[in-house]
């Protein structure tokens, strides 16, 4: 009988050999990616704007049977899985690693879909530290201006960024009010797969504006 290994354990095993490379960013992203990838249909697009969570993404691909164990543990080997996602990997339409660009790219895809009369959502996974990037807010204005209700931003609100607590590095709160002021519908949920799935379902019912799901990390 083979032992069932949890995603958290896989993640730690994967990153243990590489100095826990952005481990926190991946740990808080596991449930988010699980919910988003489970939900993703043929016509949907997923953009991992916080590229630093690539390890969590690879763990999910492994859970889905899209990566072998050897591939998973090839992380950051010179010919192995890249440390930030690259175009060409399963589900990955655009490379990341440079923060702040995901919603802009999503808007382009969403407008092209609209022009072609195509269905499907564009899901963008962002970090809370990433919200420091000015381009996030340029893009947030653009999504709202074009009433892109096929754009769904999922914000991993884990209260940490690279060198400290988010509110000490650069104050983010009130995050919900910021997104609402920019013309987005806002849904707030705890960082649990079922709650995130429910939020994604609910987001589908909101028409005429882009949607931000703020996923709050309530554990230590």
């Amino acid at each position: 009988m083979s032992e069932v290994v949890s995603p958290q354990v896989k993640l730690r095993a994967m990153l243990g050999g590489v100095g826990n490379f952005h481990l926190d960013s991946s740990e808080t992203c596991l449930e988010i990616l699980a919910a988003v990838l489970e939900r993703k249909g043929e016509k949907d697009v997923v953009i991992l704007s916080k590229g630093h969570s690539a390890p969590a993404f690879y763990v999910m691909l492994h859970e889905m049977g899209l990566l072998t164990e050897d591939e998973l543990y090839s992380f950051a080997n010179i010919d192995g899985l890249p440390s930030h996602v690259l175009r060409g990997l399963p589900f990955i339409e655009v490379s990341s690693g440079s923060l702040g660009q995901g919603i802009s790219v999503a808007n382009g895809i969403a407008l092209a879909k609209r022009g072609d009369g195509k269905e499907g959502n564009v899901y963008v996974v962002l970090g809370d530290g990433e919200l420091d990037e000015g381009q996030v807010w340029e893009a947030a204005m653009t999504s709202a201006h074009y009433n892109l209700d096929n754009v769904v931003a999922i914000i991993d609100r884990n209260y940490f960024q690279l060198t400290g607590k988010t509110e000490e590095i650069l104050r983010k709160e009130p995050i919900d009010e910021k997104w609402r002021a920019f013309g987005w519908a806002v849904i707030e949920v705890p960082n649990e797969k079922e709650a995130i799935q429910a939020a994604l379902d609910y987001a589908d019912k909101i028409k005429g504006k882009p949607k931000a799901i703020i996923v709050r990390w309530e554990r230590d």
Partner: protein, 306 residues
Amino acid sequence: MIESFREAFGRALVELGREEGRLVVLDADVKDSTKTVYFARAYPERFFQVGISEQDMVSMAAGFAIAGKIPVASAFAAFLMRAWEQIRNTVARDNLNVKLVSTHSGFSDHMDGSSHQCLEDVAITRVLPNMTVVVPADAPSVYPLLKQVVELEGPVYMRLGRDYAPRVYEKPELELGKASVLREGDDILLIANGVMVSVALDVAKTLEEKEISAGVVDLHTVKPLDEETLLKLGSRVETIVTLEEHSVYGGLGGAVAELFSEKMPKRVIRIGTTEFGRSSRDYVSLLDRYGLTAEKVSRRLEGVLA
């Protein structure tokens, strides 16, 4: 005959929009200045305004390319370069089919001064893997080159000036990636692009009077570099001169000097800028101040070649 780069660009886009349904145009609130307003009027459903946010525009163009469109994102050269990191990390790294077209490059935005005058863009786009870099010489060159840029699969930076484009070609037959030989010569070879092609032709005439035979090449595609043509023409002369409305570091002069130093060592004199610009009521007097008129270039070369 003086024509306008941006007018030629605006009209070419409308023409190409008719031929290619996948073409979409993105603007960062400069459509009246870049003349993409003509496309906006002709095909409003394929024109996308993002406001004054060049970084958002470039990443959004990447999204359109991912979705199978052929996006043309346009702005003033100086401000399009504000999105260099987006160009590097998303457009070039993913080899996306995004066309970046600048206007107001070089000194052409003479009134607005050094903040708006862009003299570094060819250098910083040329260094990017996957990127093609194109600098048309005159207004008639814009349509045929832009058509090939749109047909090419992959990222391109096309650099245009504003309203001062002395005519070089009556009916240009230009091939992207292929240097256009305008004049043969056995003493020196002048390699230019953009508005400096017409300057190079005038310089060649002046030098002829002094019994110096100068060849002239329009190197409209800086990358990929047409090494074969350049080495063939270069082998006939002692000295090569590059002329560009751009820094001598890293642009056309840099590309040509790299080629000859490695494959056919000989003297390369780079004519261009080493400083920021300044405001001026008149464009040509600005070129003159920076030594880029035919008269100034000829005088300099006569001194060097004497």
